[in-house]
Amino acid sequence: MTAPMNGLPPHTAEHGDHAHRRGFGALFAGRGDQTVRFDRRDTDRMSVVGRDGGARTEATDGEHEADALRHVVFVGNPNVGKSSLFNTLLGARTKVMNAPGTTVLLETGRLHYRGPDGNGPAEVWDCTDTPGTYSLLPLSPDEKVAADAVMGAEGLPRPDLVVAVLDATNIARSLYFLAMVVELGAPTVVALTMNDLAEAQGCGVDAERLSALLDGLPVVAVDGRTGAGTDRLVRAIADGFRGTPVPEGLHPLTGTANVRAWVEDHADARFDWAARIIRGLDLQMRDRVTLSDRIDRVLLHPVLGIVMFLAVMYLVFQATTTLAGPMQDWFDVTVRGWLAAMVDTVFSWFGPAASTGWAHALVVDGVLDGVVTVLTFIPPMGIMFLLLSLLEDSGYLARAAFVMDRAMRTIGLDGRAFLPIIVGFGCNLPALAATRTLPDSRQRVLTGMLIPFSSCSARLSVYLVLAYAFFRGHAGSVVFLMYVLSVAVILLAGLLLRHTKFRGLKPEPFAMSLPPYQCPRLVMLIRSVLGRLWGFVRGASSVIVTMIVALWVLQGIPATPGAGSFGQVEDVHDSVYGVVADAVAPVFTPAGFGDWHASAALITGFVAKEVVVGSMSQSYNVAGGDDATEQRQGEGTLGARLRESFDASSGGHGRAAAAAFLLFVLAYTPCLATVAELKRQYGFRTMLQTVGVEPDRGLCARRRHLSAAEARMVSAQSSRWRRAGGSGTMPPDRRHADGDADAVTQVIADLESGMTLEACARHRGLPRGFVAMIADHARRTGRLQVMDLSPRAACGEAWCNPDPGSLICAGCPLLPRHKPTPQKRDLDRDQAAGLPHALRDGLRVGGTGSPHGGLLARLRSRRG
């Protein structure tokens, strides 16, 4: 074993690459970060298989020993320091948030363990960090992921060992959770965190004593922020693979059980067990007023809390504007000068002609300009990430979610939805990923559609340049106002969506455990900021440099006679770039910025908002040269050019045009990477609706997303019915008392259970066309829920492939079941009169339906 460094165990680590693609590549990104579509009924269907480990948990089996790859899952309540511990152990650059439920993805990493002395054969542990959860009975997608990971369900490998991360300050809830984990039967090691806070609160937990009370279950006190105790934790994990004891009073799960029943039925027993352990610990759990309580009297005050929240937000964004400026100047002037001199030196080696050719111009005006543009974004991004990390790690962000709860409820969301939106002010992409913390799928989609209205940092550069160019002296206030407007747009769009597309969406009850305030650790803070900053640079640089080089190429291609040769176009207006921008500019004339520079920048801004300023500066540079320092401040040549252009295009109302331009940048289509993420998370149609390309046809149409589990169930049912020749047995829980049911009820029951029209007709001895009419009648009267299988319906583009030869989708059992309307035993006169209409617009059998309607026709068209 090599000497530990900084208290860390001698191991190396790898971590999964969770970087998102940006630019055009984002549209072709893989599905590594699969969206977990969640439905409450999933939890009812979840099952868990025990290991029958008896008094000792099941040890690692031979299969894993053979390939020397062991699966270790870290699981625990939100805000217990799990991600910090995982980071410290593995060096994985997971995001460490100090608000409940912010570990959105399953972070994985491989830890190479070489025995306690460091000289043994290498063991590879495949470690997984799960989202925080209070229970193995999930209420949200992230909780379901955590439950699946610890159970080894949904295609996730069954863990060889579970590291249960327990919060010493919340030991009662932690022990209840531990009870569930242990009962699953996997070897378990307890990592006890927050020990310093517990000691400060007078309720410190002795790890050895706790281990003794748990009948020898390994308990290791650790501090993920400093690395203390991680050595012992690694050794405990290595020993734990051989099996760990099951504490007395807990009963390992045997056989297969329904998760809901298993969790709920034994909850009281687990609480009693936890209470016994706590009594054994003899904790002095006196309820007393803490420092956090005193701080919360101000920060959570009904009035002062909101004032403080706004003040904090104001400070954050003032810092990104006033502090970042000088640093941006340094990058823009000094660094640009250094790099340009280096390039000139290199080209001078090839003779004087090389320094005036198109290759030199490409490097200096294309590549170098792109690189410097990226560098100038580092100061504001770094400051923003630093402040966000401070808010997260200190515990304030959780309070902010609580303070904003009421405001979010007005648009159908709970306070937790504020978190992704505020993250969106940094970058929309992680914000979209963070929407999975929301427990309701509709809330996730709604939040995802609102996030693009969050003014991301990339837009900040546009605000700054315009603000300094047109509102000098009030630039900070203008930028702040843009963020206030962004919040207003989010609220208005949320209200609109709430009363249209998401009508009926009810917010979830808000119940969140508040972490104590903590002083952020400098090392973790720097690591977090650098990680985020590197992610930004890595993600944005390729797009920015590529686009600016592409723009240079477009500007270098002459489009008019006599404009010059490639790379030597005298007036950029005569290039291909100028022609395209000219063609688009009239669209913006009513807004006052029908100027080709502005339109060109907006066009490229679709690819990445970071390019907007770079595109402007480059186009003006080509037109007449510019001073890079004053571009960023908006007070120099770029600002002057902008004022000239906007004054000219708006008839002397340059400020008004600039305000319109700022609003347009705030609200127009998100960047390409965000668009790709929207498609990946919510589907093609939602992506189009979010971007504004497609009007929301979902206002009146029924649309549902199928979860993977649902899709599998439908697929399995479909296969089963096909194998059974369409005459399978109705599931017992849905069986109707045929003797008491009329024909309509019987047909509905048959279709709901997955029968085809033909099978139902055979089963009931009825004409097939009559069965089709009954089905249509039931559909129109609301007794049979029929999925919308129009082109691009959610089910068709997700995992479920509608079966064209079956009405299983028509009677999809995933649809909400309504109680039958007041019984109408027979078709009344009006309904009978409507039958021809139904035949025309509704169900058709035998391919005789109208091409404009008819479920089967649409099904067939999909098959075609």
């Binding site: 009662a172 809830r173 909850a267 759990m285 007023v289 959570l300 959780a398 303070v403 009850p509 119940a511």
Partner: protein, 99 residues
Amino acid sequence: MDTTPPAGPGTATPTRGPRTLAGCRAGDTVIVDGIDLDERHRFRLMELGLRAGVVIRVVQRSGFGGRVVARGPERIALDGGTARAIRVRISDDTEETTR
């Protein structure tokens, strides 16, 4: 909406009818009588430690009826709707239980 006059901090004031957490003031120590939420969310609150019979202390009143309650060293933030769904009675005994 509960019309019971709020009790002073930490005092046990007789109540005239069903009282909810939303009607409690900061400093009140109360016993949870029941939770009028759907089964899933009631169970989740139970998992968070808010079960019938548990003694909690209102730490903070927040906007729109929201409350922060303490159960030992734990702090749980509840929105106004959830606070109104939690029926409580004033505790005669402020001793903390760890049930």
